[in-house]
């Protein structure tokens, strides 16, 4: 059974093996309800969300529930571990670069400076005893968009397990997956990681969305997330800029095309793709090694680079190598 629903600005899909169709429908309904609940709490766009309330009140100190607090705490922990490569306060920079409107623009130095002043995970203080969240700058804006979809997948997976589901694949807009068990008589749910560079942006309109396969992962009781710039970039002054900002410099990341991260849960894999993307193939492995990430696959944004595809602890056993991996183009 496969069901899809719109949530968190993307499409969530559930693939489920079930014998009882009515029961599967009910479980799917309950799962999508849970995703909607998470969206209602974390949506940056809804004035009624908990994160919107936190943003309104955090300059004076605000108390939140254990669930929301734990997620913000995890985000902050990943910011600390990555020395700011992951940062839930990056919104003003995204805005300055025009990324929320789906287009890019080169900000003026003044705009950039103003946005940088309103950015920085270190401006957020958490107090576990009271579940308090406080920002030391009223312009600060917490946005869990870089971790929330993964979190929603984890909540959905927990609900499915609770309901006795033993084989299911959860998909949040193809950028994050979580697999429960495996389809009958298989090693895991096959996830194809495309080679974004070999498939230039024109491919999407012609229905060749995924391009060539770089590798296939058989995912089982684990999560996989991908961040890439193939569909999101802009060109200014003859240069191509990615839609992923390096929160530390305030500028779009240069040189990476795509990263895929494997982790035990989707909250982490979702956030860690941003860490991996921002830090790049050279610097990221050291940081990823101190997180829950179990493997990562980097694709650099240069067709002629010799080490264009870089693997870190990538599971050779479960992948089916293609020409793209072994011989390159």
């Amino acid at each position: 059974m496969t069901q899809s629903r719109q949530a968190m600005g993307t499409t969530f899909t559930l693939h489920l093996y079930a014998t009882d169709v009515t029961r599967a429908d009910e479980v799917a309904e309950a799962m999508f309800e849970e995703i909607a609940r998470v969206e209602e709490a974390l949506s940056h766009y809804r004035a009624t969300s908990e994160i919107a309330r936190i943003n309104r009140e955090a300059a004076d100190g605000v108390v939140t529930d254990p669930e929301t607090f734990a997620l913000i705490a995890r985000a902050q922990q990943l910011s600390r571990l990555s020395d700011g490569a992951f940062d839930i306060t990056v919104g003003p920079l995204m805005k300055a670069w025009g990324f929320f409107r789906g287009r890019g623009q080169y900000p003026s130095p003044e705009e950039l400076a103003a946005a940088r002043a309103r950015t920085g995970w270190r401006h957020v203080t958490l107090d576990a005893a009271t579940r308090g969240v406080r920002t030391d700058h009223p312009g600060l804006d917490l946005d869990l968009g870089g971790i929330g979809k993964g979190y929603a997948l984890d909540r959905a997976a927990a609900l499915l397990r609770e309901a006795g589901v033993t084989a299911a694949l959860l998909d949040a807009g193809s950028s994050s997956f979580y697999a429960i068990g495996a389809p009958p008589d298989t090693d895991g749910w096959p996830i194809r990681v495309p080679d974004s560079v070999s498939s230039p942006q024109g491919g999407r309109d012609r229905g060749q969305d995924e391009g060539r396969t770089l590798t296939t992962v058989h995912l089982r009781d684990a999560s996989l997330s991908t961040s890439g710039t193939r569909q999101q970039f802009f060109i200014a002054g003859g240069r191509r800029y990615s839609h992923i900002i390096d929160p530390r410099t305030g500028a779009p990341v240069d040189g990476m095309a795509q990263v895929t991260v494997l982790a035990p849960n989707a909250t982490d894999s979702d956030a860690l793709t941003k860490v991996a993307f921002v830090l790049g193939a050279d610097a990221a492995p050291d940081v990823l090694g101190r997180t829950t990430a179990t493997a990562a696959l980097f694709v650099r944004d240069a067709r002629d680079a010799r080490d264009r595809v870089v693997r870190w602890r990538w599971p050779a056993v479960s992948e089916r190598a293609t020409a793209a991996v072994s011989g390159d183009q």
Binding site: E26, R37, T64, D65, D127, R131
Partner: protein
């Protein structure tokens, strides 16, 4: 409590155990304070709705969730997952009420249990937040109303939209005459789904009734109670009156799966002054979603669970665009025939109703914040027993009309006067 008071209290040692370094350094996170400022809440029925409210309480400074009562162990487990601690729990709600360390009780049990749980909680001297609808039957509603009248504690009903800023602004605009005389309200709560919750194995009838209590008459008031009560309450608020009569229709016409409450209902409520609410709830199409359309002689307000939009009535509704010039008419004459009026639906853009505060706060959150304030101050809630009784009675009588196939009259239950229903 201000910072000076707080520090004074700290210096006497009264609050020493709860002080975190952040509070001392930064003047407190939120409105953090001493134990005596804590509001201690016990929750009866932390099911899906109860846990939704539980999350809200956990976002309010100095609120402690002290205990749960529920007959269904997985609900306790899920509730404890939210508090993050092994919150004491009981299968018998009376043990929860026996605890000396509870200031207020939140009741989120199935409808037919409200009367027993609310009256017992009130009798124990606590402030009570009771989920809607007020009571399963007219008798239950009266029983709770009378108990509230004699109680020491305050009673707040879970009609949380009384705390929604855009609702208050909608009411203000209506009272100011912006849409003229409001003669009709059409309220829709349309879904596309069977309203079932998954029942874990091994499935038994008892478990089915426990999980899907909304589908069984012994527990539930069906769509009028679980969905309609908000919009019926909203109509009462707008009309500033309870209905005078109701007729209803409906049936189990699509989901013939053993349920007892109807899978589609329509209710027509007549109000004093010749005003009408038409409520419709179906489960086979969600094009309308949940919305309340408020029709006035000068305009329309469409209110949802998150916002509201105002449409002014077109000034010359029955004129059509002129197709010929006066000169042509003089030359060729005018054709006579049957009256023609353009009665196409209005398709223009409305104006969003934003609250003066400029923020659409979450209604559930505001309601819980207000209840905690009521516990602290003893002040009468906005969503008080009068609001609760008018809405609860409307629901109970609508169901009476629905199941008996009769027109239900309100006058015998309103004590010769129409209760005040308005908020602040």
């Amino acid at each position: 409590m201000n910072r000076r008071d707080f520090l004074q209290r700290v210096s006497t040692g009264a609050a020493a155990l709860t002080v975190s370094p952040a509070m001392l350094l930064g003047g407190g996170l939120g409105k953090a304070g001493a134990p005596s400022d804590q509001v201690r809440i016990g929750m009866i029925g932390p099911g899906s709705r109860g846990r939704g409210l539980l999350r809200r309480y956990l976002r309010i400074p100095n609120v402690q969730i002290v205990a749960f009562a529920d007959v269904y162990e997985p609900s306790i487990k899920a509730a404890r997952a939210l508090t993050g601690v092994e919150t004491p729990a009981y299968t018998d709600y009376r043990r929860l009420l026996d605890r000396p360390d509870i200031d207020a009780v939140h009741i989120a049990t199935p409808l037919s249990l409200h009367a027993e749980h609310v009256t017992a909680a009130l009798a124990s001297g606590r402030h009570v937040y009771g989920e809607k609808s007020l009571g399963h039957t007219v008798e239950h509603c009266i029983q709770i109303r009378d108990a509230v009248r004699q109680a020491r504690g305050q009673f707040q009903i879970g009609l949380q939209y009384h705390y929604a800023p855009w609702m208050h602004e909608t009411i203000r605009r209506i009272r100011a005459g912006e849409i003229g005389d409001v003669t009709h309200i059409h309220a829709y709560w349309h879904r596309n789904g069977n309203w079932r919750r998954p029942v874990p194995d091994p499935k038994t009838d008892a478990l089915e009734h426990l999980i899907n209590w909304r589908l069984y008459k012994a527990w539930s008031g069906g769509l009028f109670a679980e969905l309609g009560s908000h919009q019926i309450d909203f109509a009462n608020w707008i009309f500033d009156a309870a209905p005078s009569s109701v007729i209803a229709s409906g049936g189990i016409d699509y989901y013939k799966d053993g349920r007892e409450t109807y899978d589609n209902v329509e209710g027509i409520f007549r109000y004093p002054g010749g005003r009408t609410l038409v409520f419709s709830s179906i489960m086979t199409n969600q094009n309308m979603g949940a919305q309340t359309r408020i029709y006035g002689t000068k305009g329309t307000i469409v209110s949802t669970m998150a916002d509201a939009t105002l449409f002014y009535e077109p000034k010359a509704y029955n004129t059509i665009e002129s197709v010929s010039s006066t000169k042509e008419i003089v030359e060729r004459g005018v054709v006579t025939g049957a009256t023609y009026k353009s009665e196409l639906p209005y398709r223009g853009q409305g104006t969003a109703i934003t609250s003066p505060e400029g923020e659409a706060g979450n209604a559930d959150h505001q309601a819980c914040v207000a209840f905690v304030e009521t516990v602290r101050t003893g002040a009468r809630p906005i969503a008080n027993i009068d609001v609760a009784y008018a809405s609860g009675l409307s629901v109970a009588l609508a169901n009476k009309a629905l199941y008996d196939g009769t027109r239900a009259e309100f006058k015998d239950y309103l004590g010769g006067h129409v209760p005040a229903t308005a908020g602040r």
